[in-house]
Amino acid sequence: MYSEKVMDHFTNPRNVGEVDEANGTGTVGNPECGDIMKLTIKVEDDKITDVKFKTFGCGAAIATSSMVTELVKGINLKEADEVSNATVAEALDGLPPVKMHCSNLAADALHAAIEDYKKKSEEK
C-alpha cells in the first residue's frame, strides 16, 4: 500500500518529540477528524534551526509529519512557506489515493507553527 519511503519514515520517524525552547507551535486536526499533529519549531534569524513533531494518526500521517520536519530543518521561513501538501507527498514518492488527505496535515501544521512564531515575535 505504502511506498518504501513512507514505510521508512513511518518505521524510523525523524525528529519526534518537542523542541526545547520552541518559539512556534502548530497543532492541527482533532479527534473527530481522525488525525492530530503538533509541530514545534525553533526559529533563529528567520531560519528553522530545529523542528519536531508529535502525531496521532495513521501510517501516512506519521510519515508525512516526519518528512515535513526533514524538509524544513535548516531552511529559512520564506522557503518553508512554500512547502505544500503536494511537496510532502512527492518527497515520499506519493501516497495511496485514500491517504492523500493525510498529507494535508503536515503542511498545515508547519504553516500553523510559522504563523504562531510570527505572532509571538510581533507581540514582543
Binding site: 486536526g29 481522525g34 496521532f56 494518526g57 501510517g59
Partner: protein, 403 residues
C-alpha cells in the same frame, strides 16, 4: 520468522481438503449443472450434495437454501427481497447500529427508496436491549435484521429471543450469521429465524460464495433475475466449485466446532489477559461473556490503530484495526462509536481474531511484542505524556483537515 495470522474475522485460509474438493470441479467436472448431458450431470449432483450439506448446517431442507456469491449478497438479498415483496403491506425495518456494512448500507439505500429503518443502539458492551426492540415494532414493521455475532467486537446477540419476539409479532426475522457460523450451531428451527446469511470464507471455505436460508413459504423478490437457477430465486450459472467448497466447509465446521471453539477460546483468553496486563491504558471492547470465542478487540489509549497494525505486520503478525482510512477520511469504527467510545478510543482499537492454526507460542510472542510497539507509538502521540504516563495537555483546532 513465522507469520502469525490473527485476522480470522477478515478471512480464513482455505482448508487443503476444501481446496482439493474444489479442484475436481475446475479440472474434471467443469460441466454446466443445467446441461442434461454427461458433462452436466457430475456438476448437477455436486450442487445437490453441497446443498444437502449446507441444509444440514442450517438444520433446514435443501430447498430452503439459496447459494449466493458472498455474505454481502445474502444480506442484500434478504433485506431487499423482503422489503420489495412486502412493500404493499408495510415499509418499516428494524436493525441495529452495529451491523456489517452489507446490512447497514442496504438499509441506507432502502431508506432512500421509501422505507423507514430503525437502528437500535447498543450499550457499552455492544449489547442491544430486547425491550427497545419490542418497543420499536410497529404495525407496518415487515422485517427485523439483527446479526448473530458482531464482526468487530464479537458481541453475540440473543437471536433465539429476538426470533421469538419477531414471531410473536408476525414480523420476518433475518440474521447475519456470517461470523457466528462455525462457532455456534446455526439451527434455524431452534433460533426462530426466517432468513440467515452465511459466507464461505469465514469458515475456512472459499471467498465469493455464501448461502442464504429462506424459510419455506417466505417469498423474496429476486435480486438477480435470469434463468431457472436456484428455483427461479437467483439467476446465473452456479459457481459449482466454490459451492462444493462451501458445502464441505460447512460439514467440517460442524465436525470440528467443539474442539475449535475450545482451542481458540483458551488462546484468546490468554492473549487478552497478557495484552491488558502488560500495557496500561487499555480497554476491552465487546461483551465480557457473550462474545465470539475467538475475538478480542482492545483499545490502546492515545494512539491510532493503523500504526500498531503496521508495526505488527512488520513482525509478521496480521491483525485488523477498527480505524479504516479508506474513503478519504480516517473513519472510526461505527460499532465502537455506537458503544459510546470516544473518537480517540475508537481509532486506537485493534482486533485480534483467532483461528485453528494459532498456537500458544504464537500468542505468547504477540503478548511479548505488543508492549514496545504501543510504547513507541505513544511516544509519538501528542495526546500522550511520557512524564505522567497519561493524557497530555493539548488544545485542538476545531477545523478538520479533511475536505
Amino acid at each position: 520468522m513465522k507469520n502469525i495470522y490473527l485476522d480470522h474475522n477478515a478471512t480464513t485460509p482455505v482448508l487443503p481438503e476444501v481446496a482439493d474438493a474444489m479442484d475436481t470441479y475446475f479440472r474434471k467436472e467443469w460441466g454446466n449443472p443445467s446441461s442434461i448431458h454427461w458433462a452436466g450431470r457430475g456438476a448437477k449432483s455436486a450442487l445437490s450434495e453441497a446443498r444437502d450439506k449446507v441444509a444440514a448446517f442450517f438444520n433446514c431442507t435443501p430447498v430452503e437454501v439459496i447459494f449466493t456469491s458472498s455474505g454481502t449478497e445474502g444480506d442484500n438479498h434478504a433485506l431487499k427481497g423482503v422489503a420489495l415483496q412486502k412493500q404493499p403491506k408495510g415499509n418499516h425495518i428494524i436493525t441495529t447500529a452495529v451491523e456489517h456494512p452489507a446490512v447497514l448500507k442496504t438499509c441506507k439505500y432502502l431508506e432512500k427508496t421509501g422505507f423507514e429503518v430503525t437502528y437500535l443502539g447498543v450499550d457499552q458492551d455492544g449489547m442491544l436491549s430486547l425491550d427497545e426492540l419490542k418497543a420499536a415494532i410497529r404495525p407496518e414493521t415487515i422485517l427485523i435484521s439483527v446479526m448473530y455475532a458482531n464482526n468487530e467486537t464479537g458481541t453475540v446477540f440473543p437471536i433465539k429471543e429476538i426470533g421469538e419476539i419477531a414471531r410473536a409479532n408476525k414480523v420476518l426475522f433475518h440474521t447475519d450469521a456470517v461470523q457466528a457460523a462455525g462457532k455456534f450451531p446455526l439451527d434455524v428451527k431452534e433460533l426462530n429465524v426466517d432468513l440467515m446469511t452465511i459466507s464461505g470464507h469465514k469458515i475456512y471455505g472459499p471467498k465469493g460464495v455464501g448461502a442464504l436460508f429462506v424459510r419455506r413459504g417466505v417469498r423474496l423478490v429476486p435480486m438477480i433475475h435470469g434463468g431457472h437457477h436456484e428455483r427461479n430465486r437467483r439467476g446465473g450459472t452456479e459457481n459449482v466449485a466454490c459451492i462444493v467448497g462451501l458445502g464441505l466447509a460447512c460439514e467440517i465446521a460442524t465436525r470440528d466446532m467443539e474442539k475449535e471453539v475450545e482451542h481458540v477460546r483458551f488462546l484468546r483468553d490468554r492473549l487478552e489477559k497478557g495484552l491488558m496486563e502488560n500495557t496500561p491504558h487499555t480497554k476491552l471492547n465487546g461483551h465480557p461473556e457473550l462474545r465470539l470465542p475467538n475475538t478480542t478487540n482492545i483499545s490502546f489509549e492515545f494512539i491510532e490503530g493503523e500504526g500498531m497494525l503496521l508495526n505488527l505486520d512488520m513482525l509478521g503478525i496480521a491483525t485488523s484495526s477498527g480505524s479504516a482510512c479508506t474513503s478519504g477520511s480516517l473513519e472510526p469504527s461505527h460499532v465502537l462509536l455506537a458503544m459510546g467510545l470516544t473518537h480517540e478510543m475508537s481509532h486506537g482499537s485493534i482486533r485480534f481474531s483467532l483461528g485453528r492454526s494459532n498456537t500458544e507460542e504464537d500468542i505468547d510472542r504477540v503478548i511479548e511484542l505488543m508492549p514496545p510497539i504501543v510504547k513507541r507509538i505513544r511516544q509519538m502521540s501528542p495526546l500522550y505524556s511520557e512524564e505522567t504516563d497519561g493524557a497530555a495537555e493539548i488544545t485542538y483546532s476545531d477545523k478538520c483537515n479533511v475536505k
